[in-house]
């Protein structure tokens, strides 16, 4: 059997350096911090407890998380964190797994990751684990957590289940609005929202490593999303932007001449999507929706999915400052793309500033608790 076929689970000082370096790069922080981060990770063996709860989920965020190649997910699981509770991964079932959760909660001070939405209707009976409503499990676990990281569109803002009959919400938000259901247990605690459907693995790994090293959270926007990942506009940075400006819109996927053209008329929500997919790409820097010729659904935004349906119909009117809502066809026919692009850039800069809400101080910034 050749070496390829064998696991290479041994983690060395060099591996910690690699993890540290990769995580700093993901967060856009200086590589000079690498030795410090590596040391913190090395010291953390068996120390940073993680409790990962799954509610109304599809396990997509878990799947995404274990797709991490750099650093390998197995080393994160075995060397960087102590995964005390995770239904899809843990050995225990039934009363054994419930005991593991109770013990972790009793010890407290863990990183709480929440995947899946939380149904509030019918006293929470649309999701129960071990006979308990998930909404109550979240409360118990949040109370004793050191930091809370809701991952994916569902746990952050309600996601697709928010459109269903179960009053499915995120940990702090129901869409763009706070629901205050967990204010008592969330008060004074850092909450870091990592939306998209599913979670982007690198964003979680970077936030975890940052927290383990510095004990703080990175700067966040008003939806508690790290600006390092959610401070950029898709449309403004899109590789198809030139086609938008020139008025070349894809209207028929079967026409090879239109390949690469702007997907706006196919429902692309790039103009309202704030993320860094366009430069981070997905699955170990391979591809992302628009590069794969399919529109951005803005799954990073609190309005997803309810406000963005129907997905493949043009629905977002571009709002231009001083002009207001603009019919894109008329803009293309009369004003010309260059003008729209210039105004668009102004609009997007001001929007990004608004989102950051002045929360620009580096690593020590605490998330604000203002009602959105």
């Amino acid at each position: 059997m050749d070496r390829f076929l064998l696991g290479s689970p041994e983690i060395t000082r060099r591996d910690f350096l690699k993890i540290a370096s990769a995580s700093l790069a993901m967060l856009g922080l200086s590589q000079a911090l690498t030795p410090r981060v590596a040391k913190a990770l090395e010291d953390s063996l068996g120390k940073t407890a993680v409790v990962w709860l799954e509610g109304q989920d599809c396990a997509g965020c878990t799947e995404s998380f274990i797709n991490n190649l750099e650093p390998p997910a197995a080393s994160i699981l075995l060397d960087t964190i102590s995964l005390r509770y995770h239904e899809t991964v843990m050995a225990a079932s039934g009363h054994k797994s419930e005991e593991a959760l109770a013990k972790a909660i009793e010890e407290g001070g863990y990183v709480l990751v929440i995947e899946g939405s939380i149904p509030l209707a019918e006293d929470g009976l649309f999701c129960t684990v071990g006979g308990k409503p998930f909404k109550d499990i979240v409360r118990e676990a949040a109370r004793r957590a050191a930091v809370i990281i809701p991952v994916g569109a569902c746990a952050t803002f309600g996601g697709i289940p928010r459109s269903g009959p179960t009053d499915a919400v995120g940990f702090l938000f129901r869409g763009t609005r706070k629901h205050h259901h967990y204010d008592d247990v969330a008060a004074g605690k850092p909450v870091i929202n990592l939306p998209t459907c599913p979670l982007h693995n690198e964003r979680l790994v970077a936030v975890l490593v940052h927290y383990i090293t510095f004990g703080t959270v990175p700067p966040l926007d008003r939806f508690y999303r790290p600006l390092a990942f959610y401070g950029y506009n898709q449309h403004e940075n899109c590789e198809r932007r030139g086609h938008f400006d020139a008025g070349r819109f894809l209207t028929d996927w079967s026409d090879p001449k239109q390949q690469g053209w702007c997907l706006y008329l196919k429902g692309c929500r790039g103009p309202v999507a704030f993320q860094d997919c366009w430069k981070r790409l997905w699955n170990n820097r391979t591809n992302y929706c628009i590069q794969a010729n399919t529109p951005c659904a803005a799954c990073c935004e609190p309005e997803f999915y309810e406000s963005f349906s129907p997905l493949y119909e043009r629905q977002v009117d571009v709002e231009l400052p001083g002009i207001g809502r603009v019919d894109i066809d008329k803009v293309m026919a009369t004003v010309g793309g260059a003008v729209a692009a210039g105004i668009g850039a102004d609009m997007l800069i001001s929007r990004a500033e608004k989102r950051s809400n002045g929360n620009k101080n580096a690593a020590r910034a605490k998330p604000e608790k203002k009602e959105s």
Binding site: C58, N287, L311
Partner: protein, 528 residues
């Protein structure tokens, strides 16, 4: 005296499952399964643009991710009358066969192996293979730090557990390797999917991706690595364990169900021969559909989709007076949580009136997968071990077939840009069906479109078949039947129950429509 045992949650599956059994004299006497989470996807789709369905339903479950996307896309192809172009069909096939490879080996190593291995035997490894020594040292270091999560706590190993240090250490190293191989698979599939999991490119009309020749050559190299892992690691491990330490479990037929099996055709290798084929994605399927009734070795009959019905006798739904069962195309979801005699929000799908096991064992028996038939020749009975066997063989079959599909796609990409889509407008009024066999079994969607919106959408998914409750004749569903007579010598350590249930690879997220609001009040027994 009979003792009730409730295991909730059953972990290392997709979704939330509760299993309750009655144990008498160390054996399971009766069993009930319930899903404990619901989101209401069928309801939230009503009155929407039908084209949303593949994207939205693809997010029902991300483990056998994307099979709902494909079933929904075929359902719309059928309703809209679209013949998907060859490149679209090939990309859909490749996406699904890549998924099959990693889904099957992850199920074996990450989701199931801990039921069969005494992982702490690693500490006794005495060999000198440097890689295995590294595994040993890692586990020993965790033990010394007093932190062996997520491997502990656990059910205690029993007489069937594998505890040979060399075998266990090798399998643990492959557990770790399998996680890396899955990450590589996601990188590979992302070339045609946009994001992984939860593909974004597959929709009504085909697949929007336009991979270049160079990307497809990279795709092929990544593919070969997956096939190599399946052939040289996964299959040998399953065969070694299944015909070695686990052979007694196999010959005892632990986890066998009714002897009824159903699978739908998957991986079309030819273009549709007519509009009826749109629902099946094409013609000449690599893995054939079929129904076997009354015994694993009985001949398979062709699938008749008109023979599928859903009963609600023991489910919390109402049907109109005098109606026992309905075809899913006219299915009704009328919720009645106070219904007498009901105990599940999973309906009871039946084929020709029979409960059917779906999944890899069904496909393996209908298609006579070679290693599976060898195991049966050696006295192995269809049950938990046979399900693992069938998965492993299937990973090889679809992985090797994929190479030809990639080569054809490379030919197409060499001739000009890949075009995988053919579009048609949303019809005002239409019905459609889409069927595929997901890693976990037979999956079909039905749509009824009116006024260009979804009027009704029904899914009959693998875990609904397998986890179904008793029907109007009192006949148990496959999980329930498979648990009967399972040895549970120690009610505190019901390890055989989880072995059996996990061998089906449960996927609850899609199976459950709604939930028992009584869950809190009734049947709350715990192992103590």
């Amino acid at each position: 005296m009979a003792q009730r045992i409730v295991i909730d949650p059953i972990t290392r599956i997709e979704g939330h499952l509760k299993i309750e059994v009655e144990v008498e004299n160390g054996r399971v006497k009766d069993a009930w399964s319930s899903g404990t989470m619901a989101r209401g996807f069928e309801v939230l789709l009503q009155d929407r643009d039908p084209r949303d369905a593949p994207y939205t339903l693809g997010r029902v479950c991300a483990v056998c991710e994307g099979v709902h996307t494909i079933a929904a896309a075929q359902c719309l192809d059928h309703a809209f009358g679209i013949e998907v172009p060859e490149a679209g069909r090939l990309m859909r096939n490749l996406f699904c066969s890549g998924l099959y490879m990693h889904d099957h080996f992850i199920h074996f190593y990450v989701l199931s192996a801990l039921d069969y291995l005494d992982i702490l035997a690693v500490a006794q490894y005495k060999g000198n293979d440097p890689q295995l020594l590294a595994v040993r040292d890692k586990i020993v270091a965790l033990v010394e730090k007093g932190d062996t999560a997520p491997f502990t706590p656990r059910y205690e190993p029993d007489e069937f557990s594998v505890n040979d240090p060399e075998t266990v250490t090798t399998l643990v190293s492959h557990y770790i390797k399998s996680v890396e191989m899955k990450a590589k698979s996601s990188k590979m599939l992302n070339i045609i999917c946009g994001i992984q999991p939860n593909p974004a490119t597959i929709m009504a009309g085909g697949c929007t991706a336009t991979p270049t020749r160079e990307q497809l050559i990279e795709f092929r190299a990544l593919w070969e690595e997956q096939v190599k892992f399946v052939n040289e690691v996964y299959i040998p491990d399953v065969v070694a364990v299944g015909t070695g330490p686990l052979l007694p479990l196999a010959t005892a037929g632990l986890g066998g169900a009714h002897g009824n099996y159903l699978c739908y055709p998957m991986f079309p290798q030819g273009n549709p021969q007519g509009p009826a084929d749109y629902a099946l994605g094409g013609s000449d399927h690599l893995v054939k559909g079929g129904a076997i009734i009354g015994g694993a070795l009985n001949p398979a009959q062709a699938v008749d989709f008109n023979s599928i019905t859903e009963a609600v006798a023991h489910s919390w739904y109402n049907y109109p007076p005098g109606v026992d069962s309905l075809h899913p195309s006219v299915g009704i979801t009328d919720f009645n949580p106070r219904k007498d005699g009901a105990y599940s929000f999973i309906k009871s799908p039946r084929y020709d009136g029979q409960p059917m096991e779906v999944g890899p064992l069904a496909r393996g028996l209908v298609n006579q997968y070679p290693e599976l038939m060898d195991l049966i020749g050696k006295g192995g009975k269809p049950g938990a071990v046979a399900r693992h066997f069938s998965r492993a063989v299937e990973a090889r079959i679809v992985g090797e077939a994929g190479l030809a599909w990639i080569d054809r796609l490379i030919e197409l990409a060499t001739a000009g840009p890949i075009v995988g889509m053919r579009e048609k407008p949303v019809p005002g009024r239409a019905q459609g069906m889409g069927a595929w066999d997901a890693p976990r079994g037979a999956l079909a969607h039905w749509v009824d479109i009116e006024g260009s919106r979804i009027k009704n959408y029904q899914l009959v998914v693998p875990t609904t078949w397998n986890a179904s409750p008793r029907d109007e004749k009192g006949v148990r569903g496959p999980y329930e039947e498979s648990l009967l007579d399972a040895p549970v010598p120690d009610p505190d350590n019901p390890i055989n129950i989880v072995r059996i249930v996990r061998s089906f690879d449960p996927c609850l997220a899609c199976a459950v429509h709604l939930i028992d609001p009584e869950t809190n009040d009734i049947k709350v027994y715990k192992v103590s």
